[in-house]
């Protein structure tokens, strides 16, 4: 139980500099001053900001995964080491803290890449960098169990 404490204090990330983009994209695109008579770049097609993979989507599939995880929970021994990202298919999360940062970075890349409609221009440098990290999107129903077994 107490083990999670440090992780969580790290989770309050105040990032005022480069890389902030991920958590404030919707402010940059939706807030700030506009001048009605001026042209504004078209943002049509931008799918703004998805917070990690932790979105609790209302779907049968999600419900069944939650149920499975719930049934698997051993409240005596297992103090909640199954994280929601794992449940939602986040893959093998070894260090939640570090991984989260990386995942956040990936998501920005994703969102923004969608926003720019695929890399058909000089953004190739960023693209390459992002694509080097293998994406793990495969359903990972059992990863939580595996991880605990490995650690036991």
């Amino acid at each position: 139980m107490t083990m999670t404490t440090t992780t969580y204090s790290d989770d309050v990330m105040c990032r005022p500099r480069a890389g902030t983009l991920y958590d404030v994209l919707e402010l940059i695109l939706d807030r700030g001053m506009v001048i009605d008579v001026f042209v504004r770049v078209s943002l049509v097609g931008i799918e703004i900001l998805k917070i990690d993979a932790r979105i609790v989507v209302a779907s049968v599939d999600t419900y069944l995964r939650f149920a499975e995880a719930c049934n698997r929970l051993d409240l005596e021994r297992d103090s909640g080491s199954t994280t929601i990202p794992e449940l939602l298919g986040g893959g093998v999360a070894k260090s939640v803290g570090k991984r989260k940062v990386k995942r956040a970075a990936e998501s920005v890349g994703d969102t923004v890449r969608k926003a720019v409609g695929g890399g058909d221009d000089e953004d190739t440098e960023e693209e390459t960098e992002e694509q080097e990290k293998p994406r793990r999107r495969a359903p990972a129903r059992t990863s939580g169990t595996k991880r605990r077994r490995a650690e036991a």
């Binding site: 958590d23 979105i55 909640g80 929601i84």
Partner: protein
């Protein structure tokens, strides 16, 4: 020269300098400059052709605003505002001068913090421990396993996680409001139980961050807090002064 118009980053006071070595939008990056019109000024650069919300350009916009914020109050523009030409922009600045100066005055020495609450990472065990209804559904699903039982359980879990995150987020917003001059609800973000921006004295920024950290610990089994800041005051430049407690 500015065939594609002038990209506008911010409105500032005329006396404020342009920070050195700041990137502007475009590839290759344009050079930002200041367009002074009486007591106020606009920070602009030539707009690139085919401006879109690229990562590079979003970052340039944000970085330039952050750098500007170091030296004085800034009215940040939304990403992607382009004036057709210098004359039109000057006309607009002159026309809105009084309003802009008033807002600049209001934002002097203040920064924005954005706080989001999403369902907590380790929420599941805590939820099952603390919620009798979930426990009952879980017992049902164990004793009489089946698709329907699992579906009922899973649906209840999803709803409960979202509800708990929202409740915790609301409490956090209430606590943090005490440290802020104004609070506004942020735009809807999928997966976010709460999204709120706070206008905070720059001198109070550390205290705000420390308090947020403490609250994150307190509510860790219900919500995960994501705090960003200090930021340019994106959410506090509307023409009308924001209502002090417009969030909940």
């Amino acid at each position: 020269m500015a065939d594609h118009g002038l990209y506008v980053y911010a409105v500032i006071r005329s006396g404020q300098p342009l920070p050195a070595n700041t990137p502007a939008v475009g590839g290759p990056p344009a050079v930002p400059r200041i367009l002074r019109e009486g007591a106020i000024a606009a920070v602009v650069s030539d707009a690139p052709p085919q401006l879109r919300a690229r990562r590079r350009d979003l970052l340039a916009h944000q970085e330039l605003l952050l750098a500007l914020s170091e030296d004085g109050p800034v009215l940040p523009m939304r990403f992607g505002v382009v004036a057709p030409d210098e004359q039109t922009l000057r006309g607009q600045l002159a026309e809105a001068r009084t309003r802009h100066l008033a807002t600049l005055e209001q934002l002097t020495g203040r920064v924005e913090f954005n706080v989001k609450a999403v369902a907590a990472q380790n929420a599941l065990a805590a939820l099952v421990r603390e919620d009798p209804e979930i426990r009952k559904l879980r017992d049902d699903a164990r004793h009489r396993p089946g698709y329907a039982a699992d579906l009922r359980l899973g649906e209840a879990v999803a709803a409960a996680l979202a509800r708990r995150a929202a409740e915790a987020g609301t409490r956090v917003v209430r606590e943090l409001t005490a440290l802020a001059h104004a609070v506004v609800a942020g735009p809807d973000v999928q997966g976010c139980a709460v999204n709120a921006s706070f206008l905070v004295d720059r001198d109070d920024a550390e205290r705000f961050t420390a308090t947020a950290r403490q609250l994150a610990l307190t509510h860790q089994e219900r919500a995960e807090l994501r705090v960003a800041g200090p930021l340019p005051c994106y959410s506090f430049v509307a023409d009308q002064a924001p209502a002090p407690t417009a969030v909940m």
